[in-house]
């Protein structure tokens, strides 16, 4: 089984992942656009037990459209977007794909909140698209 590794911009937080992603997603909702500063967020979700995190992140909680609590992690030193948790799936953790040393294995399986997608941000038409969740 291959190990995937990654880190934040300054290196204060780094991580190792064994196992394959449970889900790979691209989200264009307002919250995801705001925290990335771009047209969408891309995350790969893994079993928490398959992920080892070194270093300390800061977190910010928010409520999703479904009413669940999202916990978003960032590096407090450099501000890199890192991890997310959701009370609806307590055994899973999302990892921002931009943090991986090698993300060539990534391909979104689903595109969420296409209704909020800016015109300048095109998508792969072969991916399963949802207007909202």
């Amino acid at each position: 089984m291959s190990t995937k590794t990654g880190h934040c911009h300054c290196g204060a937080v780094h991580f190792e992942v064994t196992g394959e992603p449970l889900r790979m997603a691209q989200c264009h909702c307002n919250a995801c656009r705001r925290i990335t500063g771009t047209g969408h967020n891309v995350q790969a979700f893994f079993k928490k037990s398959d992920v080892i995190i070194h270093g300390v992140t800061s977190t910010h909680d928010s409520v999703s459209d479904k009413g669940n609590t999202r916990i978003r992690h960032f590096c407090s030193v450099c501000g890199s977007r890192m991890f997310s948790e959701n009370t609806a799936a307590p055994d899973a953790i999302g990892i921002a794909v931009g943090e991986f040393d090698d993300s060539s294995w990534f391909k979104p399986q689903v595109i969420l909140y296409n209704a909020d997608r800016p015109a300048w941000d095109p998508i792969d038409p072969s991916v399963d698209v949802h207007e909202f969740m």
């Binding site: 880190h7 934040c8 911009h9 300054c10 307002n30 919250a31 656009r33 705001r34 925290i35 990335t36 500063g37 771009t38 047209g39 969408h40 967020n41 891309v42 995350q43 800061s58 910010h60 928010s62 978003r72 960032f74 590096c75 407090s76 030193v77 450099c78 501000g79 890199s80 977007r81 890192m82 921002a96 794909v97 931009g98 943090e99 993300s103 060539s104 990534f106 391909k107 979104p108 800016p118 015109a119 300048w120 941000d121 095109p122 998508i123 792969d124």
Partner: protein, 142 residues
């Protein structure tokens, strides 16, 4: 430099509401950047950036900042909310009069029309880009 957009008024809060940015004035450039640093900061495949005049930007709230050396040799600094990590503004020592705005921050992004991708040499194949000119590093003369 000739503005791409003459008058624009933008306001945004960070994710937790503790910090905000307000911008009023022309936009001088709009681009996407696929450099490794932008991938790390955004957690995605590229940053989406609009350039405004730094004199026309107003920030509120407690911000942290992180600086690093850019490929140009300049120091690049990002300002982010200390509480929720949302990036509000970037700046470069090469052009201290330029404010680099993370476009995703603003709820209305209909005004944004990027005309180039820079640092395409580190583009990830899973990151779908618009059909605009792509440059391996900086565009000459940018």
């Amino acid at each position: 430099m000739k503005p791409k957009l003459d008058t624009l008024e933008l306001e945004a809060d960070c994710a937790c509401g503790a910090a905000s940015i307000a911008v009023k004035g022309p936009i001088y450039g709009m681009f996407l950047c696929c450099c490794p640093d932008c991938q790390l900061m955004t957690g995605s495949g590229h940053a989406s950036v609009a350039i405004a005049d730094s004199d026309n930007v107003r920030l509120t709230g407690k911000l942290s900042e992180f600086s690093r050396l850019a490929a140009s040799g300049a120091t690049f600094t990002r300002h982010f909310c200390a509480n929720c990590g949302t990036t509000l503004l970037g700046g470069t020592s090469r052009r201290t009069d330029a404010a680099l705005l993370p476009v995703g921050l603003f709820r209305d992004q209909s005004w944004f029309a990027p005309n180039q991708v820079i640092f395409h040499r580190s583009h990830q194949k899973w990151d779908i880009l618009p059909d605009i000119p792509k440059y391996e590093t900086y565009r000459e003369g940018l």
